[in-house]
Symmetry: D2
Subunit: 311 residues, 4 copies
């Protein structure tokens, strides 16, 4: 379904080339002052912002946000009323003609086939609901969640930590530029750290903190894996290597023990596949490395999840 | 919280050395014939069943299942009434004396510290609610879910695919025996494949199939990561390597595109850390490789998740 | 919170004199053709439509519906995509000046006091979120739900069955006109009948059909009571009067036995208090009998509830 | 389904003549001391406790409570661990032979017909899941909820306020005794008052306090109507009669305005039909007035609902 969370609940709507995308955010405390500039900056990061390897048009996407309910403008400030906050971003730049020759094409590694099978109808204009454009609405909700958390001392920071095999950030631009020139695409890893999180966040046995984070992050387009703490590389670690009776909480814990935050920074990583529609085969907007634009979306989904658990 | 799912909902209870563990399973179709032998065999796999590296006592755990409601015995068959199925497994082998000297110890990499902080009380007898014993209840619910799925042609099969660096199953026993002898522990990876899953399972944009699976699997004790399809190793793959316009559905998809099953087998992997309480430091029951006993639990959580999405 | 339902889920937003009211409807089957004329006619009923006792301005409310997502226009038809349907109705007629002198007034029998206490902020313009204007969004969602149900043979019909002590519909207009002239208000009862409902709707033991209907209907502004079957007057009936072993299903059942529909028409009644802000004391828009405009809202909430249980 | 609530969640199981009835209570704060005597006294009220008109056997029902998880016994006290509390009450007095001649009978006004239609199977022994015996589990959960609320200053008190047409409690016993002698049954009304409830409880626009209370109470067997504040009799009241600008909060509000508690006592009433299976027609246990035994169940459902909203 299109809702996430119970106390802090975000419901998303919109197709990539329909009228608008947007959503409803339920649970924002009354009198929260909405930081419009921060939302704008996160939307700008998500739209690529001229970064290497994101399509030129991406930067030009005008993510004009309209507030439909739940807020009141007063003395130049946007203030939450405590009622559900509704917003929409119009799809002004809906150049569906690029997609015209895709009308009969089911793109591999995309949702085209499964959506057509499940819904019996497919909005071919730019991938419809399955398009990554939908993540802009997540970023709006997530930015507000980040703000609520920040007031409680919790900060979320994600960054691109690997592109292909490369782990040195200084080399990322080169690799992406080459990939773009080759009309190809490449995978990437996003690392995320949550600082200032109090002890006690997470609700065992199912709503463990790592389970809720994995759920939220794995719902982002193109994400193929999630790990925290010692992660997959930890398969080769021995118990005697990492556990020492005098270290509580455990430094190798990734900030979570028994599904509950232990007060250490929580850190996790997630991997994004190379985008399936590469420029060599398809027209339309394509990124060389979707992980770049996923960074603020990872922050958003993390913030939405934490707000739900903390409020 | 201690419930998972909405249409097929499992609610779990019990502490490892309290009176019992068990649960309530809501949503089992009336007239389902419960396969008690299958449940027993899955519980036996979970209890280690004499496998290398599981504590001797584990095998001796008598997981005697008592049915408290939702079923009727008729002509030797156990039949679901359509009402919630309740069951309990008594903790007969509650040897809490082994844990006596842990009364004042907070074990690293365990939930001891976080539970004490969150709840202000800790059931020191064997880890209380955070103990892996709780997963026996999951296995009961999961076995019934597997049965419901099997009638619809869906089969779930998990197996240990890596121990430490080793990927050859023929070598697993040796490594675990050595680890056990060293009073140490080691990590492992469990691979799971779902066959016969129809096209269309998964509810975007948040309840994507991979997101729901990640949530369910990451809630298992000791699980540190989840991946599907190309996973983390896919970070180094190029789009041109895997996507070919004439292959729909995409073989590299892991069986899921756009969050919805595409009819191919769904395959995912998850990693389990070495257990924190190693025999070199602590008394009590310890496994050399918890991934072994996690195998049927991974199947159970997968089945619970799919039943909820399919029913 | 502002969502209702799980399979058919409606999330509402908007303040009476803010930018817009509207909502997101999740769970509408793909390829449903939206009947815009029906929605319009239900909105017109809700806005009073010139009926006696509704403010003149009410009829002039232009409930211009804008579709923001989840639908596609094709050959003059509005077709559901299977994704969440989002809509907004602009508040064009926001004459908040009438409410200016209420700025410091807390109106009795309204949400003014409780909202101010709960949220620490109150959108004084026309009651904000607590205004009955919010029910227009319910009517949009409910009309679509009614359409889905109609295709399954289920019809919902509500009507005003009592005004004050009067039960003869031919007398309603007179009473309301007199009440209006006296700048006063009066209570009313709405009766609702669901026909064509199949046997088996309702999910005991908590989601009994009558419990879900009561929840939905009691959430409508001004509703003070719900009853079905023999209702409150049945307190004086004896078992021997109504139960006869040869009548199955039971005619006195109100269509529900054991929380599950029994195939007979389901009928219930709900009472609406006289509106608290009477014209004798306050400016602004006031109805002499809010039960009149509640009729399509009762239908809407019934349809939303049934769709969630039936889908 | 068989769960109610999200933060304070009660999941119920059990058939009237199966092995046991019971449930899981999730959300009880760690270190709550469970008042076993209070639970026992409420169970005793529910079982009739020798009151006029309840079957003799009812009083003999031994509701022996077994705690299966979530609690620890310490120094004679039963203390909540913060984990889900599970309990069972064995059905020791399962005299299903009385029901033998009902094997082929579908009782009117009971769930027999609808359960058989919905589930295709019916547990004929005493009504199975649809029996009022299931409410004993609600009383256990509700008693714990009442205790949590009491610590916050909130008290819930229900009482029988009408039997047939009679509103004078001094006359109730006579009427019920006569009804019993006539092998008949009669309806009743239960009134409930919540005192000490803080301002601000209730979550508009759907989870209004009255909507949540109506949902909870209407799920009790035999309940046919719910009203609060001016209720159904208020249909004949005029706005000018009850609303006065200088009374905030409004005395006629029933303690709820805009769906949110206003600090006044919350009072509501609910009606119970005469039981359908009257002694003149059927063997088995039958009450002359089920409203008597419903009193502690109404308190329980009210407490479960409030705990969920307040925690």
């Amino acid at each position: 379904m299109n809702s996430i969370g119970t106390r802090f609940r975000f419901t998303s709507f919109g197709e990539s080339h329909g009228t608008a995308i947007g959503g409803i955010i339920d649970g924002v405390p009354a009198r929260t002052i909405i930081d419009r500039e921060y939302i704008k900056s996160q939307l700008s990061r998500r739209s690529g912002n001229g970064a290497a390897g994101t399509s030129r048009r991406a930067a030009a996407e005008k993510d004009e946000l309209e507030w439909l309910g739940g807020v009141i403008e007063k003395d130049g400030l946007l203030i939450a009323l405590g009622s559900p906050i509704a917003f929409a971003i119009r799809n002004t730049d809906a150049r569906s003609e690029d997609y015209d020759d895709m009308q009969d094409i089911l793109r591999p590694g995309h949702a085209d086939y499964t959506y057509e099978q499940k819904y019996g109808i497919r909005d071919i204009r730019g991938g419809g609901r399955a398009s990554a454009r939908e993540t802009a609405a997540r970023v709006v909700a997530g930015s507000i969640a980040q703000q609520i958390l920040k007031e409680k001392g919790v900060e979320i920071k994600a960054e691109l930590s690997q592109v292909g095999n490369e782990k040195d950030p200084k080399r990322f631009d080169d690799i992406i530029t080459q990939t773009l020139a080759a009309k190809d695409s490449i995978g990437g890893i996003v690392s995320c750290t949550i600082t200032g999180i109090p002890v006690g966040v997470g609700e065992p046995i199912f709503d463990k903190l790592q389970a809720r984070l994995a759920y939220a992050v794995m719902s982002i387009n193109g994400c193929k894996g999630f790990e925290y703490g010692t992660g997959f590389e930890g398969v080769n670690i021995k118990g005697s290597d990492i556990y020492h009776i005098d270290e509580i909480p455990c430094p190798a814990s990734g900030g979570i023990e028994g599904g509950i935050s232990n007060g250490l920074p929580v850190s996790f990583r997630c991997v994004f596949k190379p985008t399936a529609t590469i420029a060599a085969l398809y027209k339309g907007r394509h990124d060389a490395c979707i992980a770049i634009r996923a960074v603020p979306v990872v922050e958003a989904m993390t913030a939405i999840t934490l707000s739900d658990l903390v409020l």
